[in-house]
């Protein structure tokens, strides 16, 4: 869930808040701070827990991003998304309305024939939204992602809940594997120019709980994936959007991969191969190949909802197909996010997110 979210957040908040993505920052990579005093990702910085579960206020943007592939008793597919974005106007905290930290929550619930979504926005400093590292709690309004206090790590057990006008869900998440660091020990490069983020995941959740749908409550179980990422560096002007996948293969192996589309150059790709025991292998630009196969017109724009995904070094050659091609998040900055089924060299389930597909 890497670059895609940087852009999703940056551009979403850009639209909501008129925040123009600052072009500087990237030139100062490695100097420790950009022109406005924000910290920039540092390849030498090791991840520390539980602190890194909490917010990094000296960085411009950050998110807690949960997706889950779920099925009910009849084997019907569902997907849920729960995301809390943080965006800072200044690298600090202040009391009350003067606080420069802004929060945005997205919740989605996808069924094979319906897609529900909701968005919440909040100012920091007043208690309407925020994240605490220990005991872990991330919340905005009545939505929350809270540690159950089991296991060694806060993410070993979580409870998540969100509601919209016509839907809601309440789920328990139990991790049966370790946290996974992407890139080099959690330092994930996002472009050939060197933009990067700190990025780790908990991809081993077993999920159970209830979906609240207009037709009634539905008990479900499935697999979940939580991404944590923070950075201060927006992408370059020529990068137009991303396609990102998190795939749970039936073998117990997992794959995170993304493709950053560029107006002037070939897409930049990156991937992490995750063994069932949590051993992660990062792949740099070019190793992963994502090829759109067919498009669906959603909200007046063509969006690829079937893909071929190849990672030759791991003998992966699969096709992913959207459970519901109309998994459109019509929020401040709209994007596509929904569950997919996997066929080909490997079978399984996963999540697809695509941003930057403009209306024609």
């Amino acid at each position: 869930m890497s670059g895609r979210s940087v852009r999703a957040l940056a551009s979403a908040l850009a639209l909501v808040l008129g925040l123009t993505a600052p072009a500087h920052g990237q030139g100062f990579a490695g100097l420790g701070a950009d022109a406005e005093g924000f910290s920039v990702p540092d390849p030498g910085r090791a991840l520390r827990f539980p602190e890194d579960h909490g917010p990094h206020r000296r960085y411009r943007v950050e998110w807690w991003y949960l997706t889950a592939n779920l099925t009910d008793a009849e084997g019907r597919d569902y997907g849920i998304q729960w995301t809390l974005f943080r965006s800072a106007l200044a690298p600090e905290e202040r009391e009350g309305w003067q606080n420069p930290q802004l929060w945005m929550g997205h919740a989605g619930l996808t069924t094979p024939d319906a897609h529900f979504h909701a968005e919440r926005l909040a100012r920091g400093g007043i208690g309407q939204a925020g994240v605490a590292a220990d005991p872990f709690e991330a919340f905005i309004d009545d939505w929350s992602l809270t540690s159950l206090g089991i296991g060694d790590d806060a993410f070993d057990g979580l409870a998540v809940t969100a509601t919209g006008a016509a839907f809601g869900y309440a789920l328990d998440l139990r991790a049966n594997g370790p946290l996974v660091r992407h890139g080099t020990d959690g330092y994930s490069v996002k472009s050939a120019a060197g933009q990067a983020s700190h990025y780790y995941s908990q991809p081993f959740f077993e999920v159970s709980g209830t979906l609240f749908l207009p037709e009634g409550d539905v008990p479900v179980t499935g697999l979940g994936w939580l991404d944590r990422e923070w950075s201060s560096q927006p992408l370059s002007d020529t990068q137009t959007g991303w396609d990102w996948v998190s795939l749970h293969f039936d073998t117990g192996e997992k794959l995170m991969g993304f493709r950053l589309r560029d107006r002037r150059a070939a897409p930049f790709t990156s991937a992490t191969w995750i063994e069932p025991d949590g051993t992660a292998t990062p792949f740099t630009d070019g190793a992963l190949i994502l090829t759109p196969l067919s498009e669906t017109e959603v909200d007046g724009r063509p969006v690829p909802t079937r893909w071929r995904i190849e990672l030759p070094e791991k003998s992966v050659d699969v096709r992913i197909t959207a459970v519901n091609p109309r998994s459109w998040m019509a929020v401040s900055v709209p994007y596509w996010e929904g569950p997919v089924r996997i066929t080909g060299s490997h079978g399984g389930r996963g999540y697809l997110e695509m941003t930057g597909y403009d209306a024609q």
Binding site: L17, L89, G96, W97, D141, D142, T163, A165, G168
Partner: protein
């Protein structure tokens, strides 16, 4: 053939440009007054919609606390319980010389469109600057001009849609400017709330839910005012149509010969009708176009006064500048065309039914049909009766206007019969042959003049009625101000600290210090305020009570009862002794009712101690001061105590400002009044001009019998004066009836107060002189023409040439 026919018909206007001008001016004036009123109303209404739309009020439910303030924590608790609510902090601050309404919104949670301060929407607003320090403020360009140089304000950006006197900004900026940190005045409830949210009673039981429509208050409050304007616009339009009717009727009469010739040459009646209709439509569109331009100018000139009136009466903010709406222009044109068709209907019908071989002589007079006059009079009496019946049986402003309409139209219809009776009496009293001829000839002219005289009657009635109302209002209002503004100085302070300091400081310096606390509270469920006042002789001796129980002031001082304003008493039908709900869960008996002119809201007075017990955190921010030397005390308050100049106001200034507001309130009414009278004068002129040229056959025999032309002209003048005078005499009782309905029915419905009626005979005298002058002026031209008519023209009457 049609082309030739059209040329023949149009040639008439070329020969009589004056008549063409009359027609066009009459229709243009009618359209102008009507359109002006429409434009003003539309502008004001649009401004209320904008104000309520942007604040998320009106369209949305809101939550408020009876104390006037909601804690930030309550907002957060509601959000965390799933309530989609958005905070608004609103208050007033002194910015330079201006009392600025600051509205703080929270853009991340606010309903869409909250920041649409410019017609283009919110897209180009720098939201980061808005929510960062020092923030941004959006205000109308005229407000920004007035705020030039005011300190403490954030950088200002023009927001054409923000009402004057208001600044929209971020809630964080607003709480700093208003010094109300962590406070919220209202929570806007968004539509599409999530499922399963906790009930309000479990999270914030003290909050009150205000239904969405309650915020349409401004539109509702001011509705009556706009209805008043509309009624005036309609009256002007009707008077204008009288002119058009006269001018078109004349043109058709004079073209009878042309029409007969055209028909005789083979032009079908339908084609002739069609051509006349086309001619009429073209004229109507031209006149309507002129009328719209005029109307726009009139509206533009009147709008600042209307805006001041609306602000003075209702506190509504309406910009003083007019925007142009094409729909309005098209509607104005349509009204002009419709009016022209209505006014020409009778004439067109006559052309259609005119027998081909009928005499082509223009008819100067129709037979004075006693039957017709009687029928008109009966219809008029019926209208008056119907108006009275409606007012008696139905309630509300519409019933009031039904009464007015019935009264005015009925009186107008009865006028010709009344005049005919008077003239018959005159003829009976006449001793000489000349005198008898004078009265008989005047009666003969009545049908031709009656429309113009009806217009004059309407204008006079409106004038008498409105000036009596305004005069009564002024007398009552001035007396009331004298009573109500008993304290010599009025002082406002910024906060509780300053308030305490002031009371100590004043202890030895003022004869009496009368603190007043005001709390906004839904009284009987409608917006209102509860005032806490000290127990002091100032109130007991001077406060203007309309009705009260014995010992009302003692009951008030003891905290056992309340005094309410007349508006509240009338709205809720309350009398002394009745219970009144001052706030949810707070009911008190009414001890008395006081008059409260100019206040649109419900208001109640309780003892200061009681209000301070109920609202302990309300500081005393307003004071009335009794002193023998207000000038010295005011100077000391400013110089020694250090209050702002604007924080100390003396009694005389408040009175002056109040009366200014009052005068401006009726400027609009006065202007429309004068315009209507002018239109009526114009109607008489056109009617007389119409008749003058046609009356030669009736005058020739009188001339042949030895009455000189000069004498004839003088008699013409006297005839006009007599008719105007009789019309005026008829107008006085009708005008007084109108004034009574305005004061006792319309005002009570519109504003909630009833005023005693005063009579102003001197004003009537002035009006009589004006009416006679208008009639004389209107007759001067035709009379002069008559005096100079060549004897040969009189002789021609007896030859075959006519």
């Amino acid at each position: 053939m049609r082309g030739v026919a059209l040329t023949a018909l149009l040639a008439h206007w070329r020969r009589r440009p004056g008549q063409l001008a009359t027609l066009v001016i009459g229709l243009a004036l009618a359209t102008a007054l009507w359109s002006a009123v429409q434009a003003i109303n539309a502008e004001a209404r649009a401004s209320y919609d904008r104000a309520s739309g942007r604040l998320g009020q009106g369209a949305y439910e809101t939550l408020t606390d009876p104390s006037g303030s909601i804690a930030l924590e309550t907002f957060v608790s509601l959000r965390r319980a799933g309530w989609l609510v958005s905070p608004v902090l609103e208050g007033r601050m002194m910015a330079g010389e201006m009392r600025l309404l600051v509205t703080g919104v929270e853009v991340l949670t606010a309903p869409p469109g909250t920041l649409a301060v410019t017609p283009g929407g919110a897209d180009d607003i720098d939201l980061v600057a808005l929510i960062s320090s020092p923030g941004l403020g959006f205000a109308a360009p005229e407000t920004i001009d007035r705020l030039d140089g005011a300190d403490r304000l954030p950088p200002l950006r023009p927001g054409a849609l923000v009402p004057p006197g208001q600044m929209v900004t971020d809630i964080g900026t607003a709480e700093r400017l208003l010094d109300r940190r962590g406070e919220i005045t209202a929570l806007v409830v968004l539509p599409d709330q999530p499922r399963n949210r906790a009930p309000l009673s479990a999270i914030a039981p003290n909050l009150v839910v205000n239904p969405a429509q309650q915020q349409g208050d401004m539109a509702r409050l001011t509705n009556s005012f706009h209805l008043n304007l509309t009624a005036f616009g309609l009256l002007s339009f009707a008077v204008g149509l009288f002119i058009v009717h006269g001018a078109i009727g004349l043109a058709f009469e004079q073209r009878r010969a042309t029409c007969r010739t055209l028909r005789a040459l083979g032009l079908p009646a339908r084609d002739l009708m069609g051509l006349l209709l086309v001619e009429l439509l073209v004229l109507a569109v031209i006149a309507g176009g002129i009328g719209i331009v005029l109307g726009y100018a009139i509206a533009g000139a009147l709008l600042p006064d209307v805006a001041a009136t609306l602000h003075g009466l209702y506190g509504a903010r309406v910009p003083g500048t007019l925007s142009f709406d094409p729909v309005w222009a098209v509607t104005g044109l349509a009204i002009a065309v419709a009016g022209a068709v209505i006014a020409a209907g009778q004439a067109l019908w006559r052309v259609r039914t005119m027998p081909l071989l009928a005499s082509a002589q223009p008819r100067a007079w129709a037979t004075v049909s006693a039957v017709l006059l009687r029928r008109q009079a009966i219809a008029g009496a019926g209208l008056i009766a119907a108006g009275c019946a409606t007012a008696w049986m139905a309630q509300g402003l519409i019933a009031g206007f039904a009464l007015l309409a019935g009264l005015l139209l009925g009186a107008a219809l009865m006028l010709p019969a009344g005049l005919a009776t008077v003239l018959a009496l005159g003829a009976r009293a006449a001793r000489t042959a000349e005198g008898q001829w004078f009265w008989a000839d005047t009666r003969q002219q009545l049908p031709g003049l009656s429309l113009a005289l009806m217009a004059l009657l309407l204008a006079l009635v409106a004038n008498i009625g409105v000036s009596t109302m305004v005069g009564s209002f002024r007398l009552t209002f001035t007396g009331w101000l004298d009573q109500r503004l008993a304290a010599e100085l009025y002082v406002t302070v910024a906060d509780a600290g300053e308030s305490a300091r002031l009371e100590t400081w004043l202890d030895s310096r003022a004869d009496a210090v009368l603190p007043v606390i005001t709390v906004d509270s839904p009284i009987e469920g409608a917006p209102g305020e509860v005032m806490g006042v000290a127990d002091h002789g100032t109130y007991r001796d001077t406060w203007p009570l309309l009705t009260a129980r014995d010992g009302a002031w003692d009951e008030l001082a003891a905290g056992r009862a309340t005094l309410i304003n007349e508006q509240l008493a009338r709205r809720e039908g309350l009398a002394p002794g009745d219970p009144v709900r001052l706030a949810p869960g707070w009911t008190m008996p009414v001890a008395g009712i006081y008059s409260d002119y100019g206040n649109p809201m419900n208001q109640a007075m309780v003892s200061l101690d009681l209000l301070e017990t109920r609202y302990p955190d309300r500081p005393r921010l307003s004071f009335g001061l009794r002193t023998d030397d207000p000038e010295a005390l005011a100077e000391a308050l400013r110089a020694d105590f250090g209050l702002d100049a604007a924080a100390v106001v003396d009694q005389a200034t408040i009175k002056r400002v109040s009366l200014e507001v009052f005068e401006r309130t009726f400027t609009v009414t006065g202007t429309l009044n004068v315009l209507t009278l002018a239109v009526a004068g114009f109607a008489i002129l056109t009617a007389l001009l119409t008749l003058a040229s046609l009356r030669l056959p009736q005058l020739a025999p009188a001339w042949a019998l030895g009455i000189t032309r000069k004498r004839l002209a003088r008699l013409e003048l006297m005839r006009s004066l007599a008719l105007a005078a009789f019309t005026f005499i008829a107008a006085v009782p009708v005008g007084l009836a109108l004034a009574w309905s305005l004061l006792a029915v319309v005002n009570v419905e519109a504003f909630g107060w009833r005023l005693p009626m005063h009579l102003f005979p001197m004003q009537w005298l002035v009006l009589l002189v004006l009416a006679l002058a208008a009639a004389a002026l209107a007759t001067a031209l035709p009379a002069r023409h008559l005096a100079r008519t060549a004897p040969a023209d009189f002789l021609k009457v007896f030859s075959n040439e006519r």
